[in-house]
């Protein structure tokens, strides 16, 4: 399952152009990693694609930190 965390962090690094060291589980996408609101939408889209899951809008709104994303995907991903 730690694989999921690594894959999530990789997507965040690639998408937001931040250093891997910054992408801690408690890092907030907007406040700590410099994402704008459209970036967060795109991150959710990227997670959906990577993990072949659907993240509904109300769930997406609650995903504010790297850890939130990993947690959601761990409990919803098939692979």
């Amino acid at each position: 399952m730690s694989d999921i965390a690594e894959r999530v962090k990789k997507i965040v690094v690639e998408h937001l152009g931040v250093e891997a060291a910054q992408v801690k589980e408690d890092a907030k996408f907007i406040d700590d990693l410099g994402a704008d609101s459209l970036d967060t939408v795109e991150l959710v889209m990227a997670f959906e694609e990577e993990f072949a899951i659907e993240i509904p809008d109300d769930a997406a709104e609650k995903i504010q930190t790297v850890g939130d994303a990993i947690g959601f995907i761990k409990s919803n991903a098939k692979s």
């Binding site: 459209l38 939408v41 795109e42 889209m45």
Partner: protein, 245 residues
Amino acid sequence: MFDLSGKTALVTGASGGIGGAIARALHRQGATVTLSGTRAEALEQLKASLGERTHVVAARMDDAADIDRLAKESEAAMGKLDILVNNAGITRDNISMRMKDEEWEKVLQVNLTGTFRLTRAVMRGMMKRRFGRVVSITSIVGVTGNPGQANYAAAKAGLIGMSKSLAQELASRGITVNCVAPGFIATPMTDGLTDEQKKGILARVPADRLGTPDEIAAGVVYLVSEEAAYVTGQTLHINGGMAMI
């Protein structure tokens, strides 16, 4: 210039005078085109006259589920969607004192809400590919107003405000969002006017003639082209000088 080879476009209201001309023009520039509208037969006729690189997906713009289906089916038919031309529109004219709630709501629902829903539905793919062109056909009356058209003018003005907002949201993703505002154009819609009404209109048009659907289509071709990548949030008025804004 304005080559659209390899690009894909969805045109709503393609069975109408202006929509048909827009679809033809995009197709002529090399785009693959999906024709949408409510009159399936007219759409099939247009498809037959255009030949290859053409698809038809009939849909109602007052039905949210139908709009989602339209977005999905046109993306599936063409593989992706680069260009959306929101041209579908209706009128239910009446002086405001007599305008019924249904007349107000229907026009807002089709012309404004439907356009927003469809645009929202196609944004995701455009964002992913970092390319998109959205052009909504508004109207001169959305800027100047027109007696008897409070509903239509409100919806068309709404499209302009909506487009400016979307333009700001999406500019950094390679997506432009613009409007084209026709003045009085010779179409089946204006054929219904009496000679006296036409005379009254022409008195206000410095060019002293009605515009043609092709003249509107040419503006759309420009705005959806690669060349217009730096043009966003704008309204292009094509009206023979009737209003200079």
